[in-house]
């Protein structure tokens, strides 16, 4: 849980890249570049990024492979890294359904992964009220993450993005089910009402979220970055609808750590907000 600063508890046992990489052996020029981002650095802020490219070719799913997910997650991680975030990045069969499933449920482990981060991002397949993984533990029973199985923010995470089709489709009950389960001090749940094409969604989103210095744009609110045609909408056709769910209206104006202020944690009071815009 966070008020005014990112958490300091690390995603233990995970690789922490970012600043370490910046300061390792890349010489004076790169070190200066690292110093150049210092005013924007999000010390202690942590990203959990997961993507799945291999679906049909892996033999466990009928869904098509998603090379764009691999590429766009690379872009997203690059951008967060440049801003000084620590990253954990699991891909394909190492992206576990349990990572996003509530630890309060059998087979859930989000307290160690999605909810241990400040910003969690998943790119892959989805459908109404669910996200499709390819790997699950025996206790989980299946590789689909459902909207009834999530609880975010009770430990740490402020912003979760499911860059997957239909997952946040406003069918009425779908949005309220997401809200009622997932929001436990979570600020924003970001995703799609419609079906995005497998383009550069996450990378462009991160580009608008983060300002890495005088030669970079960004630093915009999460909502601006997701809805922008130079952000999350860049590679989508006209009319593709996006969704963001918030605990309170002010969360729509959140900036992520290092980029400005956010509205702080708020308990689930049963009254949530939905924002929708078309690409």
């Amino acid at each position: 849980m966070t008020q005014g600063k990112p958490s300091t508890a690390p995603l233990t046992s995970r690789r922490q890249t970012g600043r370490l990489l910046c300061l390792s052996a890349w010489g004076i020029a790169l070190a200066l570049a690292c110093l150049g981002v210092a005013p924007h650095a999000a010390q202690g802020a942590e990203l959990l990024a997961e993507h799945i490219e291999i679906y049909a070719s892996g033999g466990v799913s009928a869904s098509v492979d998603l090379p764009g997910c691999a590429d766009t997650t690379t872009g997203l991680v690059d951008e967060f890294d440049a801003a000084g975030w620590s990253e954990t990045w699991w891909s394909n069969s190492a992206a576990f359904e349990s990572d996003f499933k509530s630890s309060s449920l059998v087979g859930g482990d989000d307290d160690d992964w999605a909810d241990a981060a400040d910003f969690a991002y998943f790119c892959g397949h989805g459908n109404t009220g669910l996200v499709e993984f390819t790997t699950f533990t025996a206790a989980d029973g299946n590789r689909l993450l459902f909207n009834t199985e999530t609880r975010y923010g009770n430990l740490n995470v402020e912003w979760v993005t499911f860059d997957t089709s239909f997952t946040l489709r406003d069918t009425g009950t779908n949005i309220s089910t997401w809200y009622s389960n997932a929001f436990s001090n979570l600020h924003l749940l970001v995703g799609w009402h419609d079906s995005p094409l497998d383009g550069d969604t996450g990378g462009q989103f991160a580009d608008e979220l983060i300002d890495t210095g005088i030669f970079d744009g960004g630093g915009n609110t999460v909502q601006q970055a997701w809805f922008s045609n130079s952000g999350g909408c860049t590679d989508q056709t006209s009319g593709t609808t996006q969704s963001i769910i918030a605990e309170i209206q002010a969360h729509f104006n959140d900036r992520i750590w290092g980029e400005g202020s956010n509205a702080g944690d708020q308990p689930n009071n049963g009254l949530g907000w939905l924002s929708q815009s078309d690409c």
Binding site: V64, S165, Y179, S180, S195, Q223, N229, S238, S275
Partner: protein, 340 residues
Amino acid sequence: MRTTSTMVLMSIAVVTWLTAGQGRAATEFAMPAIPGFRASAPKTPPRFALTVPVKVPAQLGVLKLAPVHTDAMSVAQLAETLGMRGEVLEENPGRWLVEDSNGARRSLTVFGASGGANFMHLEQLHIAPASAPKLPSDAEAYALALAFLKENELLPADFDTRMGTVTFHRPRLIERDMKRNVNLTVIETGVQVRFRQYWQGFRVSGPGSKLYIMLGEGSVMEGMTRMARVATGVDMLLPAVSAAAALDALGQGAGTYAVPTGCTTAKVTKMEVVYWSESPRLAQDHSVPVYEIGGDCVDAQGKSLGEFFAYAPAAYAVPGFEPPQGEPRREGPPWPMDQR
């Protein structure tokens, strides 16, 4: 700093269709390089049922697109047109940026490969308002948007400006009692006026064809998106695929679709030939026609599940096509861990 690939030279994907009982390569289609949808697929594809008549000529053209040249000067000119003052930066290769030094927080992003531009008034656009803004009517917004584009010479000739073809979109914030599933407050945050582009009489679709003006409180222009490649003529003619044949092909793997879970029958209520304009991040020198398809899905009991979306081939390939390039894979550090 991110790096963006921009090297796509030809947008024609030749799709091999494995027809049942006929062996490999019974038919080859010409398809634009459209990425797949990120929608979980059913184990068995739905049946695509055509419910509307679809007219298509015997032949469809592959169009040549005009080369694009973007540099700091052309970006600066556009910024000046939008009333901005600020240094032009190339923040990533092929992605130009101007941030206003004129007091207001405004940004202009220009994708060099296509010339596509996105302007945002960052103190207003998609900022959740304290109260419902006073917005113009659709007719007022249309008049304001059209006047702005014309006065500033930002209206490409191949966009249809007739009121009947313009669409209006109003982004919404909804406060909802989630236990009772009842909306308590609905706030329209702006009015987006959207113009459609046409080539050879067919609508242009894809991320590279967008012309929007977003108006907010007091009819202030909060944003503009202008993605508009230019077609210069027909490069070659291809035999057209009938709508029925295209839907058969779609069910057998040519093209891409997104259907809700449980969909067994996809009732096609919209099916039209469009020209595909790729991501503004990418260079594109040809445009290939494709069927854009939509409608409603039902489950095995006939219950409606909601919309579906699809693209299916509209033309057969003929000898002489360059093989598709597609977007090159992104190079990145070997960070993602696929073992644990």
